[in-house]
């Protein structure tokens, strides 16, 4: 009888289904998959026996486009990859091209970049927290998170004119000078924000339902995390103390004091704790940075037409989702020869199968949320 249900599914092991097994498709259109992600689950009752992520629904060919644009023209495209944290993408790209050119942004630009990137990290984690809680069933946090995120987006809008795909930085520094009142607004936000994180914490951290839905779910050991190339908060929640801001500092991170939150068990609850603490640490970095932004130029002297000498460079930053890397190959002309984006969401999503095996269908939603993916970055 099982023979009539033979389905060839490469990627999901065993082409013959057992008598109690079904294949459930969480299709590309699904409110909890955070975008157009398709997950094929092979279920035995309600336990996940095997799973396969099918991606590519948002593939836009960004790497191919890069070969036909000049370096500055390509900069707005990178914002659209991780559209939730556009400023980080821009920072990684601008710094990679600056390394390729052998130029360095002036100190004032580096500090302002740090402030905006940390605000963006808070904004990205707020989206993560709101949507993750919403998927699991906690309907309240999303409203509070988006209320806070609104303040950050207002600051971005005043600074560079856009809320979401900001193109905030330029190769060599910044385009716009900080507006009058930026420091006060950032300070006011950071001072209020501590109380707000405590509010979210009160809602979730010791909530019996939250703990029940997230503790022990989607466990990833440190060895598995390193073998699977996972980075960012997912890696740190599994116990590996690695953050590029500390290991290989970029922008102005070596000037500020902050901690890297680590957790031990690598389950969904730990990833929640790590990201909450990261928001607190980002707030501390912002407070330190706005105290003394150095005076000076905001743009390095690199000329209008950029022609990096032939060669290649790999530069990565700690984006909110993980290690975002840019591998740029130059052949000496005004257009890059090859731009490769190392997308943290794509690589973290690969660990989904390891995390989801043996869990229940309800946990699958929690696991997708906890990896914190943005399909724009997974597919590029």
């Amino acid at each position: 009888m099982a023979d009539t249900y033979i389905e060839r599914m490469p990627g999901v092991s065993s082409t013959v289904l057992g008598a109690d097994e079904i294949i459930l498709n969480m299709g590309p259109q699904h409110p909890s998959t955070h975008g157009v992600l398709r997950v094929k689950l092979k279920l035995d009752g309600e336990r996940v026996v095997d799973s396969e992520c099918i991606i590519g629904y948002l593939h836009r060919g960004v790497e191919k486009i890069a070969e036909h644009r000049s370096y500055q023209q390509f900069a707005p495209y990178v914002d659209r990859m991780d559209y939730v944290a556009a400023v980080s993408n821009g920072l990684g790209y601008c710094e990679a091209v600056e390394k390729l050119l052998g130029a360095e942004a002036p100190p004032r630009a580096r500090v302002v970049r740090t402030i905006l990137t940390e605000l963006q990290r808070i904004a990205s984690h707020l989206v993560w927290l709101g949507t993750h809680a919403l998927d699991i069933g906690a309907l309240t946090p999303v409203f509070y998170c988006f209320r806070e995120r609104e303040e950050i987006l207002k600051i971005f809008e005043k600074y560079c004119g856009a809320r979401l795909t900001t193109h905030a930085f330029r190769i060599g520094g910044l385009q716009y000078e900080t507006y009058d009142g930026l420091e006060e607004e950032v300070k006011r936000f950071c001072v209020d924000f501590e109380h707000k994180i405590d509010e979210y914490s009160t809602l979730l951290t010791e909530n019996r339902i939250w703990v029940g839905r997230t503790k022990g779910v989607g466990k990833l050991s440190a060895e598995d995390a390193i073998a699977l190339g996972v980075s960012g908060p997912v890696l740190r929640a599994s116990g590996v103390p690695w953050d590029i801001r500390k290991a290989m500092p970029y922008a102005a991170y070596d000037q500020f004091k902050f901690e890297i939150p680590i957790a031990q068990s690598g389950d969904t609850y730990d990833r929640y704790i790590v990201r909450m603490e990261e928001m607190r640490q980002s707030r501390l970095i912002c407070l330190q940075a706005i105290e003394n932004i150095p005076v000076g130029p905001i743009m390095a002297r690199i000329g209008k037409v950029l022609k990096p000498p032939p060669g290649e460079v790999y530069h990565s930053i700690e984006a909110p989702k993980g290690e975002l890397g840019y591998y740029i190959v130059s052949d000496g002309s005004t257009q890059p020869y090859r731009v490769r984006v190392r997308p943290p969401s794509f690589i973290n999503l690969q660990a989904f199968d390891r995390m989801a095996r043996g869990s229940l269908v309800a946990d699958v939603v929690a696991i997708i949320g906890t990896i914190d993916i943005v399909l724009g970055e997974v597919d590029r």
């Binding site: 990627g11 590519g56 191919k64 073998a227 190339g229 190959v329 090859r338 490769r340 590029r380």
Partner: protein, 165 residues
């Protein structure tokens, strides 16, 4: 710029001509290795030199060269906090050994290199397209793939429009 330091000297002494060239570019070390020795070298780098994290696996297309593809492995060592880049030249129909047995993260990265360049990885458990539809013809990131002359058939059949409208 060519790179000569004791690390490279040690490798050359141990592996001989498996290490073809050693460069340093913008302060980042690059080793060009022979494709047939890749697995031995990869295992050595992971186990002895502690490069336990494969950050990125990708390819670059140099169509005018006889071996047109440059397959690039970016490695990172947590213990030493250092990066290393390995490169190997591969011809169009040459099989590249898969490193999924050494760094499991390479699974999807090799699928993407196959999808975009058409590089076949030998020993990969499940080599098929990942970002593009399974029936797509052509390999987009190759330099001879024209964006305007791309796969019209798939688009016409599945979306019902003419590509490039």
């Amino acid at each position: 710029m060519p790179l000569e330091n004791e690390f490279v000297a040690k490798l050359k002494a141990k592996f001989g001509d498996a290490i073809r060239e050693a460069w340093i570019d913008r302060k980042q070390s690059i080793l060009v290795v022979e494709l047939r020795d890749l697995l031995t070298l990869a295992r050595y780098f992971r186990d002895e030199e502690k490069y336990d994290f494969l950050t990125d696996l990708t390819a670059v297309d140099w169509p005018k060269r006889e071996k047109r593809f440059d397959v690039v492995w970016n490695l990172y060592s947590f213990a030493k906090n250092e990066r290393l880049r390995l490169k190997a030249h591969a011809a169009e129909n040459e099989n590249v050994p898969s490193v999924t047995g050494i760094w499991p993260v390479a699974n999807w990265m090799e699928r993407e290199a196959y999808d975009m360049f058409g590089i076949r990885f030998e020993g990969h458990p499940d080599l098929r397209r990942i970002l593009l539809p399974d029936e797509w013809q052509g390999f987009p990131l190759r330099k001879d793939y024209d964006i305007l002359k791309q796969d019209q058939d798939w688009v016409r059949e599945n979306l019902g429009i003419e590509s490039g409208q």
